[in-house]
Symmetry: C2
Subunit: 197 residues, 2 copies
Amino acid sequence: MPIPRRLVLATRNPGKVREILRICADWGVEWVTHEDAPWPDVPETGTTYLENAAAKAMAVAAALGLPAIADDSGIEVDALGGGPGVHSARFAGEDASDERNLRMLVERIATVDPGRRTGRYRCLAACAWPEGMGVWAEATCEGTLILEPRGSGGFGYDPIFIPTGEMRTMAELAAEEKDAISHRGRAFRGLRDALRR
Amino acid sequence: MPIPRRLVLATRNPGKVREILRICADWGVEWVTHEDAPWPDVPETGTTYLENAAAKAMAVAAALGLPAIADDSGIEVDALGGGPGVHSARFAGEDASDERNLRMLVERIATVDPGRRTGRYRCLAACAWPEGMGVWAEATCEGTLILEPRGSGGFGYDPIFIPTGEMRTMAELAAEEKDAISHRGRAFRGLRDALRR
């Protein structure tokens, strides 16, 4: 499938909207947002990133009759058996703020040996068409976690996540530095490559 | 993504293998089957067709380092609230035969008014690459159900499913007639179109 000319950005998370528009700035797409064309709520009840991202993209594409992209992402901490994973956005409860989720994760890893505070961010980006077709791409960003938040960029768990090869947290990186190595940057570039081939 | 030259057919269901090879005969693909390169079992634990099909295609692609396709399909009976749906292959229990599943469905719809024995077959076909990308396509075939099985073609619930516009059951159609209208034929042609564009 080619990159659509008009594409619904099927997320209302302001951090995601900002990053996706930035990462996909060179796609040459006319974006349709929730302000342009409100869609019904799609609950995130899936057990996998693909199910959540694809279900949202499919539901919004069907509702608006236009191709739609969505992502689902999470942080996977090795000492927590890969958690919170798909539950990252609701780790401290439904509608929990980024800050509360982050504090919850810091509490959980406080007693973990610093050398074992490893993990990764994972992002699955999906594009769905109203005709029933779709394309997905998944990517990760490996790193380590710290207990003292640093930096004001990004969102989510960025202030306690140091990507492998970096000294700074994801929240201390400039936007273009984050996009170059982040799970979301890689996933959406993978999606673009899959669509363009 | 283009149609891969070598492609793993990630299913061991003989009925599916036969149909997919037939439907995709013009793809110009060198097929790799379970006999050529055995892969580890992938449990079908998802709650959606996409999750099951994509999980299987992704797991097999990762295990063999080659692109892989899989499908998940089911029959959705309106009088059963859309069931058995994703549970169609296990309707009468884990590892139940086609015949036992079919008998179970006949029992469940026996008391339903004949005019309300409507439903559809649904198929979701997915192709996944080891690099984390994938493409899917979904399609349906509307029809009505009967209580007396007829015909020996196809598999699954074919002997009690009459596609809309037909007088014969799916199991009474010639193979090329079935493929032209079936959920699986439509889904794999949708997948081919998505890959070729």
